[in-house]
Symmetry: C2
DNA sequence: TTTACAACATAAAACGATTTTCCTACTGTT
DNA sequence: AACAGTAGGAAAATCGTTTTATGTTGTAAA
C-alpha cells in the first residue's frame, strides 16, 4: 500500500497498481478501449482492489464542462414542484447528467443568488421555475449556459419555455361549468403577479365572454395563505348565497374553499360545485372527491429535459414556448347547477 | 479585451486586468488582506469590470475539500421530507456550505448509487434519511466523510442520528385516547420495515399495556398506498362497528381513514375520533380538523445541521442518537368516547 | 528487407483555483 | 550607514482528472 493515508485513492494510485499510466486508466474508465483486453482487465481489478472512485469535481474541471444541470424551483413544499423535481430526477436517471435542485422560496433575491451560484459551478444548463417577478430576466438572457424556463413564462423574452396551457385549460373548465348550467360562479384567484394565474384568469374571462346568457361571475383575489383565503371565500359565499359553483385557479385556494364550504354546511357535490386548477392527493380521497384540472407534470418534465439536452448539445433551433395540455378529471364535486350529479361515480373512475 | 472568447473570465484574467498576480487576487477574494487597500480595490474593480465569478469546482478541487453537503431523502413528494429539504436549505443559508438534495425513491439500490455518487464529488458530509432497508449500513459506516442519519434510525449502528421520539409521542397519543374513554381503537400502521412505524407501534402497545381496563385494539397494516388503505380501513370499520377511535401511525393512512369515514357517514369528531401521526396542511383546514402529532421539522433540521457541521470540523465526540419531542395538536377530531368534544375550539387554537 | 501506417501506451500540458516558496523592498534599530 | 526583521507580491507547485503530443511497437504492403 503506497497510497497516501487518509485520502481517497487517485487515478495515479490505480495506474501504479495496474502498472500503467494515469492517462491509460482514464481511457479505460471512459470506455475508449476495446472490450476484452488484458490491460483493461488489470485496470478494473486495480480499481476494485483500491476502492477507487473517480473524483467528479476534478473530472468536471478538466472537461471544463460539468454534467450538472441546475434546477431552481420556488418552493419544495408545493406538491406541484415536488413532483416536478421527482420527475426530472427520473428523467436524469441513466443519462450522464444529474439534477441539482435548489429553491428560491419565491424570493427574487434568493433566486438571483442561486442562479449566480449555479453559474459559478459551473453547470451545463439551468432549469428554472421563475419566482414571482421577472428580475431574473436579464441574468438568464445573458447567461452563457442554456436555460429552459418551466411552468411560468417570462414576458417579452425569447427563452425556451415549457408550460401548461393555462388559458385553454381554465377556459375549458369554465365552459364546463357553464354547460352544466352554472350562472353564478365564484372564481378564486391570486394577485401575486404569477403569470400562470393571470393566464388562467384570462381563460376564464374569455370563456365567460363567449357565453350569451347573463352571468354573475365573482372574481376574488384570495391571497396566498390558506387561512386568509378560507376567510375571504367564506365571506363571499355568505354575501352571495346564490353561488352554485366555485372555480379555484390555484392549489391552496381549493383547500380553502373546501374548508369554507364545510364550515357553512354547504353540501359540495350537491348544492355547490367545486373545480380546482391543479390536483392534490387529498382531492381524490375526500368525499365528495374534488374535481380538478390535472397538470401533466411527467410530460412537462419530459419536454423540459429533452429541451435542455438539445440546447446543451448546442443545436441552435430558435427558442420557443411549448404548451402541454391539462386534463380535467371528472370527480364528484363537478355537478350540474340543479344539483344533479352528471359525472360517473368515483368507483367507475377508479377502475380506469 | 484579451480574455479568451466564449468562456468565462478566470482568475488570471482578473489578475492581468488589475496588474497583479493570480495568487494575489485569490487572497483578495478570500479576505486575507487588510481593508481599505489600493490593490484590493483595484482587484475588486477588475472583478466587477470583467464580471468574474469564482469557479466553485476548481476552488473545491484545490482545497481538496468541497463545501457541498449531500442530502439523500427517500422521496420529494412526501410533505415531511419536502419540508425537511426546505428547512435544511434555510439552515445552510449564510454558511459556506450548501445542500445538494437527491432522492432514492425508497429504492435501496438507487440510494446506494446516490451515496456512491456523492462520495465521488466528493462532498464534505452527508445527511441521509435511509430508505426502507438497511443495505446502506456498511457503506455509510465505512464512509470517510461524516454522515448524519435523519428521521429513521439504523439498527445496531453507532451513527449520529437525529429523529423524533416516535415511541414516546405515539404512547402519549394512545394515552390521550385512553384518557378520553376510548376502549375500542383501530391502529393503522405500515408493515414495510420502516423503523419509525415500528417504534410508534411499540409506543402504542406500551401505553395500552399500562392500561388496566379491558381494551379492544385492532392493529391493521394498511399498505403504503392511500387507495388500498382506505379499502382496508373501511372494511375493518364495517366489521367492528363499535370502534370509537382511529389512530393512524403514518401520514397517508390518515387521509385514507378520513375518506373511509366520510364514505360511511361516520361523523368524525362526533361519533368517531381520529388522531394522526404526522401533520399535513389539509388536516387543519378540513372540518372537523384532524388532530395530529406534529413532528418538529425545523428543530430536526437545526439539530442535523449543527451535528454535521460539528462532524466536519472533526470534533470527535462519540456519536449518538438525538430524539426531539413531537407535539400533539388538539383539533376537532380528538373527542371523548362519549362524543363530547373535549378540546378547545379551532378558533381558540388559531389565536395561539 | 524496407517503408508506411495503424494502434496504443506514456509523458506532459491543461483545467482554474489555492497555497507554498521565494524574493524584493521597506522599516527600524544600532 | 549597515544589518536584521518583516511585509507582501510574484512565481511555482498543487489538487485529480482529461487530453494532446510524442514515441514505440507491430503489422502489412512493396
Amino acid at each position: 500500500m503506497d497510497r497516501k493515508i487518509g485520502s481517497r485513492p487517485s487515478i495515479r494510485d490505480v495506474a501504479r497498481s495496474a502498472g500503467v499510466s494515469p492517462g491509460c486508466v482514464s481511457n479505460v474508465i471512459n470506455g475508449r478501449r476495446k472490450q476484452d483486453d488484458p490491460i483493461g482487465r488489470a485496470v478494473h481489478e486495480a480499481i476494485e482492489k483500491l476502492g477507487y472512485r473517480r473524483n467528479t469535481i476534478a473530472s468536471n474541471l478538466r472537461r471544463s464542462q460539468s454534467r450538472f444541470i441546475g434546477l431552481v424551483i420556488p418552493d419544495f413544499e408545493n406538491p406541484f414542484f415536488a413532483e416536478l423535481v421527482a420527475q426530472l430526477e427520473q428523467q436524469a436517471e441513466g443519462t450522464q447528467y444529474r439534477i441539482v435542485a435548489t429553491s428560491s422560496r419565491e424570493d427574487p433575491e434568493i433566486e438571483l443568488r442561486e442562479l449566480d451560484e449555479l453559474a459559478g459551478w459551473p453547470v451545463a444548463g439551468i432549469l428554472l421555475v421563475p419566482s414571482m417577478d421577472s428580475r431574473c430576466k436579464p441574468v438568464i438572457q445573458t447567461s452563457d449556459k442554456p436555460v429552459v424556463v418551466i411552468d411560468r413564462i417570462i414576458p417579452d423574452s425569447d427563452l425556451d419555455v415549457i408550460a401548461v396551457d393555462n388559458f385553454e385549460a381554465s377556459a375549458e373548465g369554465m365552459r364546463r361549468l357553464l354547460e352544466l348550467g352554472h350562472r353564478r360562479i365564484l372564481i378564486a384567484y391570486l394577485d401575486d403577479g404569477i403569470v400562470n394565474v393571470d393566464e388562467r384568469l384570462a381563460g376564464v374571462r374569455a370563456a365567460a365572454a363567449q357565453h350569451s346568457d347573463e352571468l354573475e361571475v365573482n372574481f376574488l383575489a384570495t391571497g396566498p395563505d390558506v387561512e386568509g383565503a378560507r376567510q375571504r371565500i367564506g365571506d363571499l359565499l355568505d354575501e352571495n348565497p346564490g353561488t352554485t359553483a366555485i372555480f379555484c385557479l390555484f392549489n391552496s385556494a381549493t383547500l380553502a374553499a373546501y374548508g369554507a364550504a364545510q364550515a357553512r354546511n354547504l353540501r359540495l357535490g350537491q348544492g355547490l360545485a367545486l373545480l380546482s386548477f391543479d390536483d392534490s392527493t387529498w382531492m381524490s380521497q375526500v368525499q365528495p372527491a374534488v374535481a380538478a384540472i390535472i397538470q401533466p407534470v411527467a410530460e412537462i418534465a419530459r419536454q423540459a429535459w429533452e429541451r435542455i439536452l438539445t440546447r446543451i448539445d448546442a443545436e441552435t433551433e430558435p427558442a420557443g414556448i411549448v404548451r402541454v395540455r391539462c386534463e380535467l378529471s371528472q370527480r364528484e364535486t363537478l355537478i350540474a347547477a340543479n344539483g344533479v350529479q352528471e359525472s360517473a361515480s368515483r368507483t367507475t373512475e377508479e377502475q380506469v
